[in-house]
């Protein structure tokens, strides 16, 4: 790879940091307004109590916890996918990893808000911390909610590290190309990166360790989220399949979110030369695989319940299958399986627009799945006298809309201040940016000291 190509890469990918289009302000303003509305709605709820939401006896968990599970699911986009692709050394991953890792961090931050929004007394949420106190009170380590607390914090810490480590050389690149306050800020963020062989080796080792360490954390975090439900003897919750079912669903929705984010970035930041149809094609295949896996899990879950014919569970089963929740249920099946399968199984429709349409279907479908896991079970518990219903209120809907806007806002801001494509990784893999040339066959992932790769990125730009 020659110098001019390097320079072209740098120019292309650092440009969004220095040139701001009017669209950036438009997006920030629009998303910011929605987030502000959501913040106002939450303040209103804090002032008045959870009663302003639609929750009721016996539907004590509803939209907030739906969004919690949904966003934690979306967070599996990044770290998990990027870690797997790193470990199997898939060359095509290079322009994709950072887009994915950012989704993880932001989706986790948003998702972790919901258990707090949902608390009756959110100002006491710190009681979940095992902090030393005069009365020697501890959180209850038998509670799945306490497990959740630790799992999510571990995952968030790991994901932030996993995101930050490979950003260091790119921060150094921006530092070297900027002046004034930018130089100072990016200088601090690049942690004294000079691009020495020793530094590269350390970074590579750290990335390998993180990629291995983050996988069990990612799997465990959504398994523990599923334990919030499966540990309780609530009909259709108390199921052994929930752990893998939730993890599969999480990866499924995560890939869909990633495809949507990549398509948006591709248009907005003019990254057509980097995010190629090939990337969408490959992620589309992964999405197809997860769609089939999801259908398999649903089939297993539903068949065992139906065949077991246990009265308490059948009440929930029929409520979703052909009762009150049937419209939502069948929409979910169409969105999560029928639409993605038809679009993605056919190579001719597995194009960028095709993948994006399928992904929107999956995001909607997976949100419905989370809702359909939580609400029908709670409204159809064992005693028929206590059966209930649920309808969301505007406060809940504002807060929910605000979280989607918050994702857009955070993503736009991130892409404004950090190169959204890992520049050094792109250079490290013989990335040829001609769409028809395919992606490099030789892909030495480990940049060993003294390797023959001519491009020793970062330092010299």
């Amino acid at each position: 790879m020659d110098r001019t190509l390097n320079k072209g890469l740098n120019d292309d990918l650092v440009r969004p940091l220095f040139n701001t289009s009017v669209w950036f302000y438009a997006v920030v303003l629009a998303a910011g307004t929605v987030v502000a509305c959501g913040a106002a709605a939450w303040s209103y709820q804090l002032w008045n109590g959870i009663g302003v939401s639609g929750k009721r006896w016996p539907t004590f968990w509803a939209l907030y916890l739906t969004n919690f599970v949904f966003w934690i699911g979306i967070s599996h986009a990044g770290t998990l996918i990027s870690a797997i692709l790193r470990l199997v050394n898939a060359g095509w991953r290079r322009p994709v990893t950072r887009c994915a890792e950012v989704i993880t961090v932001f989706a986790l931050m948003i998702g972790a808000m919901f258990p707090i929004i949902h608390l009756g007394r959110p100002w006491l949420a710190f009681w979940l911390f095992p902090y030393p106190n005069q009365r020697e009170l501890w959180p209850n380590f038998r509670s799945p909610l306490a497990w959740d607390f630790f799992a999510i914090n571990t995952y968030l810490t790991g994901s932030v590290l996993f995101l930050f480590l490979p950003m260091i050389p790119d921060f150094a690149l921006v530092r070297d190309r900027s002046t004034g306050w930018r130089r100072r800020v990016y200088g601090a963020l690049s942690l004294g990166w000079r691009g020495t062989t020793k530094q590269w080796n350390r970074l590579e080792t750290a990335m390998q360790i993180m990629a291995v360490a983050i996988l069990p954390v990612a799997v465990s975090v959504h398994t523990i989220v599923s334990f919030d439900f499966s540990m309780a003897t609530v009909p259709m919750w108390h199921s052994t399949i929930f752990g893998p079912y939730f993890v599969a669903g999480a990866i499924f929705s995560g890939i869909a979110a990633l495809i949507i984010a990549m398509a948006a970035l591709r248009k907005a930041l003019r990254l057509e030369r980097y995010l190629l149809p090939l990337h969408f094609e490959n992620l589309g295949k992964l999405l197809l695989l997860m769609s089939i896996l999801w259908a398999y899990f649903v089939f297993n879950e539903r068949l065992t319940v139906w065949y077991g014919n246990e009265p308490h569970e059948m009440a929930v089963f029929w409520a979703t299958q052909r009762g009150t929740y049937a419209p939502l249920y069948w929409t979910m099946v169409v969105c999560n399986f029928v639409v993605p399968f038809i679009i993605l199984a056919n190579p001719r429709t597995r194009t960028i627009p095709g993948c994006v349409i399928a992904s929107f279907g999956v995001v909607i479908g997976m949100w419905l799945e989370r809702f359909l896991i939580i609400v029908p079970s709670l409204t159809h518990k064992q005693l028929p006298y206590s059966w209930g219903t649920y309808w969301p209120t505007p406060v809940e809907l504002y807060i929910m809309a605000a979280t989607f806007a918050a994702m857009v806002l955070l993503y736009a801001l991130f892409a404004k201040f950090v190169p959204i494509i890992a520049i050094w990784e792109l250079k490290a893999g013989d990335f040829v940016h001609a769409p028809d040339a395919g992606v490099g066959a030789a892909d030495p992932h480990r940049l060993d000291a003294g390797a023959s790769s001519p491009a020793r990125p970062g330092a010299a730009s």
């Binding site: 016996p58 009756g120 009170l137 501890w138 909610l145 006298y385």
Partner: protein, 235 residues
């Protein structure tokens, strides 16, 4: 010997008059929510009388079943509380520490009997009910769970009085408000650790069943009912 409070509910005696509910509201400072909030599922009844209808009109039979906290030995609500607000106390009661509750509402989901209630708003009472609050019972603020305590304030008072006289609590001298108000004595309260107490004898009755016994929560409330609970001619 420690006490182990339990109750027997005789379904063959229950007339569904709901005096227990009223007494419970008065004794335990349970907030009365406005009608439109009650319609939205925010009503709190630590004891409720469930109605079930059997048969088709005109051959309809109504069954009443008072349901209150079953004070389970193996309570599903306790393990899931992340702050120990819900825990088993030394008398085997499922105690709820209001000050420790942060309102995750997980206990209410885990409870198969749906006998735990959430304060969706700060409590209020229509005048002049605000003047008759029980000074022995704390008023619960917005955002926390509450439930039947077996009138723990009465239990405490009885234990203190008994201790002062250096004796145990005499069977029958202590009653929660619901049992006291029941005109047909369908509700019987007492110490299950005393094999000769009325509640212990009744709970050994062949008419006795536990609610949702197969879930393994080990409730301390026994329901008495004539067996079978359906029409004889179906045999």
């Amino acid at each position: 010997m420690a006490y182990r409070w339990g109750m027997v509910v005789d379904l063959d005696k229950c007339t569904g008059c709901e005096a227990c509910m009223t007494a419970c509201h008065a004794e335990n400072n349970i907030a009365s929510v406005a009608p439109e909030q009650a319609a939205r599922g925010r009503a709190m009844h630590w004891i409720r009388v469930e109605r079930y209808y059997e048969g088709d009109f005109p051959d309809v039979r109504v069954k009443f079943r008072p349901v209150l906290c079953q004070q389970c030995d193996n309570a599903p609500c306790e393990a899931v509380c992340p702050t120990y607000a819900s825990h088993q106390n030394e008398d085997g009661l499922n105690a709820q520490v209001y000050n420790r509750c942060i309102g995750t509402r997980y206990c209410a989901n885990a409870c198969p009997y749906n006998v735990r209630f959430f304060n969706f708003f700060n409590p209020e009472w229509p005048k002049p009910l605000h003047l008759q609050l029980n000074p022995d019972v704390s008023v619960r603020e917005v955002g926390i769970m509450e439930k039947c305590t077996f009138c723990v304030q009465r239990i405490k008072a009885a234990k203190t009085a008994a201790k002062a006289e250096n004796r145990g609590i005499v069977d029958g001298s202590l009653q929660p408000a619901c049992a006291q108000a029941c005109p047909t004595t369908a509700l019987v309260f007492g110490d299950l650790n005393d094999p000769e107490s009325r509640v212990a004898r009744l709970s050994r009755s062949p008419r006795g069943t536990k609610l949702l016994e197969d879930l393994g929560a080990e409730p301390k409330i026994t329901y008495l009912q004539r067996q079978p609970w359906y029409e004889p001619h179906t045999f």
